[in-house]
Symmetry: C2
Subunit: 217 residues, 2 copies
């Protein structure tokens, strides 16, 4: 259930090589990595069951929809299997639901059936906006809603995961991400309805070893 995540702006190709090896060793579902490193991942993970997930419109979400579409298409061309797109937070906060819907729908279409997760970035949203974000994601045909980028000041909370699971009602997956540093937190999120966990602490979660990490994710 773990998307093994490395999205730090200053991570190097050596860090990614190690990250891919960890994903293979611990049989994580996927790696979640920046677009620039998808070709490297495609090489490293060839002939393994580990999927490649990359990010679109990350981490602020206020790109043009056309740019997100372009980034989506090219991610799949380069070997990605899933994408995590950031919702247009600014449009959502402005009450422009038509723009939010168009943005997600354009990306879902560009993904041609591949899994699209919509990062709603709960930290910035009111309860009403969280509900609207989930409803618009469903309407647009996305496959998951996801709590957080890991770049806002707050990540997944139990309350948000429960709310999102309730709104999507099993029709979409729920990915809890941001600040999930240990097994107890991951299990709690799953018990509340999370169907995928995004974390940079996957190794310590599955092995029980505590790792020193500078990641905020």
């Amino acid at each position: 259930m773990i998307d093994h995540t490395l999205l730090l702006p200053d991570a190097t190709s050596a860090d990614f090589e190690r990250h891919f090896a960890e994903a293979i060793e611990h049989s994580f579902f996927a790696v979640c990595i920046p677009p620039f490193f998808v070709p490297l991942a495609a090489k490293a993970l060839k002939k393994t069951p580990v999927k490649i997930c990359t990010v679109v419109g990350f981490a602020n979400g206020y790109n043009m929809a056309a740019t997100k579409v372009f980034e989506t298409k090219h991610a799949f061309i380069q070997g990605a299997h899933e994408i995590d797109m950031v919702i247009n937070i600014a449009a959502l906060k402005s009450g422009d639901h038509a723009a939010v819907l168009d943005d997600i729908r354009s990306v879902v279409r560009a993904a041609h059936g591949h899994t699209v997760k919509v990062i709603i970035e709960t930290y910035y949203l009111t309860r009403e906006e969280k509900i609207a974000a989930c409803e618009l994601s469903m309407k647009a045909g996305a496959h998951f809603v996801k709590t957080s980028t890991g770049f806002a000041k707050g990540g997944a909370t139990p309350e948000d995961v429960a709310l999102m699971a309730q709104i999507v009602g099993g029709k979409l997956g729920v990915k809890a991400s941001g600040g999930i540093h240990d097994r107890a937190t991951a299990e709690k999120m799953i018990s509340l309805g999370a169907t995928r966990i995004g974390t940079s602490h996957g190794v310590s979660i599955v092995t029980g070893q505590s790792l020193t990490s500078t990641s905020q994710y």
Copy 2:
């Protein structure tokens, strides 16, 4: 000399309308805003001398070069006059100077003579990497080097501005940005070689009024 900046992920269209009005009132050189709001800016700033600057590959820089090129082209089509692109920090930290150069050069070509500023995100870089970033920006034909996105844990420092000005030697502009909250800091940066100031505190800098702001920029 001020790029009046609003790049918070959760700023609304009402916030941007106010931002544009401030730029007109105080005769700022430009507004620096997300791609999604360029059409709104083009409308609000029509028949005014205020330029529109938007961001590319923002704020992590690890997009594919092709996506940055797409984002650049469409920004100008929609009415932008300048772009601030984020350097591929991860490629630079990996020592892959060829990828960094190709990334910047592709964007400069796509900009067709429009001003391209390269955000080198000094916070993550060693002294040698800062120098390489400036040299690669020059080699690629960019017009400015810029210190920071405002999204890392640190912004412009006097030392970095002085170093960047020394490396580019007057051939490129130097934009100091990130954490410039008052007039004294802005003037200090200019005395050290900054030729543009990116700040969300432009109004208080020019009027002397202190504003309460939640912006990290």
